[in-house]
């Protein structure tokens, strides 16, 4: 079974700082997909970034980038120049057979 672990329940940084959220997963598969979702207080889950395991290049989306280490089964999210609007719960997720398996989440607070 696939498991996803986020070891940081909460994090807090100052606006404009860079923050990295950790995620590790366990799988015996070789081809799979990984995601980071953001859930603000509005409850809506919003896709932040996606990574295909067969791609060696780390995915980037504007201020968001990942450090994908396949051998270590690590998938961390880096947020650069953090903004107040980045305050939210962040979930790492593994996709297998079209179903998402989520980590427990990291509550990120950006302070002014």
């Amino acid at each position: 079974a696939q498991t996803v672990t986020q070891s940081q329940p909460e994090m807090s940084v100052q606006e404009a700082e860079t923050v990295t959220l950790s995620c590790t997963y366990d799988t015996s598969e070789n081809n799979y997909y990984l995601f980071w979702y953001k859930q603000p207080p509005s409850r809506q889950m919003i896709l932040v970034i996606r990574q295909e395991a067969y791609k060696q290049q780390n995915a980037t989306e504007n201020r968001f980038s990942v450090n994908f280490q396949k051998a270590a089964k690590s998938f961390s999210l880096k947020i650069s120049d953090s903004q107040l609007g980045d305050t939210a719960m962040y979930f790492c997720a593994f996709m297998r057979a079209q179903k998402l398996v989520f980590g427990q989440g990291t509550r990120l607070t950006i302070n002014p």
Binding site: S42, M95, Q98, K99, L100, V101, F102
Partner: protein, 116 residues
């Protein structure tokens, strides 16, 4: 275009009553998913519909839970004889899943269910 919508936004019910939660997926999306988010269990997969195929019900926690998808679009999640442990946020997602390549799932705002 319009995103995934869910109704009601909030539902309060008494233990033992039945509830129905509705999901309207993004137009054209062939796959629809239900997840449950609770304090104790985190985010859990419940059920998955793909086109006209039989749904994947492997995540449903008990036979009190059922779901259907009519006309390949709107879905209803039904919980019979609700229990307090059913209290959670029920999230619906949809994707344009080809069946070969996993596609990104887009989520609705969820329904918060409270069972008294």
């Amino acid at each position: 275009g319009a995103g995934v919508s869910q109704s009601p936004s909030n539902k309060v019910t008494e233990k033992g009553k039945d509830v129905e939660l509705r999901c309207d997926p993004i137009s054209g999306h062939t796959a629809l998913y239900w997840y449950r988010q609770s304090l104790g269990q985190g985010l859990e997969f419940l059920i998955y519909f793909q086109g006209n195929s039989a749904p994947d019900k492997s995540g449903l926690p008990s036979d009190r839970f059922s779901a259907e998808r009519t006309g390949g679009s709107v879905s209803t999640l039904t919980i019979q004889r609700t229990q307090q442990e059913d209290s959670a946020v029920y999230l619906c997602a949809s994707s344009f899943a080809s069946g070969r390549t996993p596609d990104t799932q887009y989520f609705g705002p969820g329904t918060r269910l409270t069972v008294l």
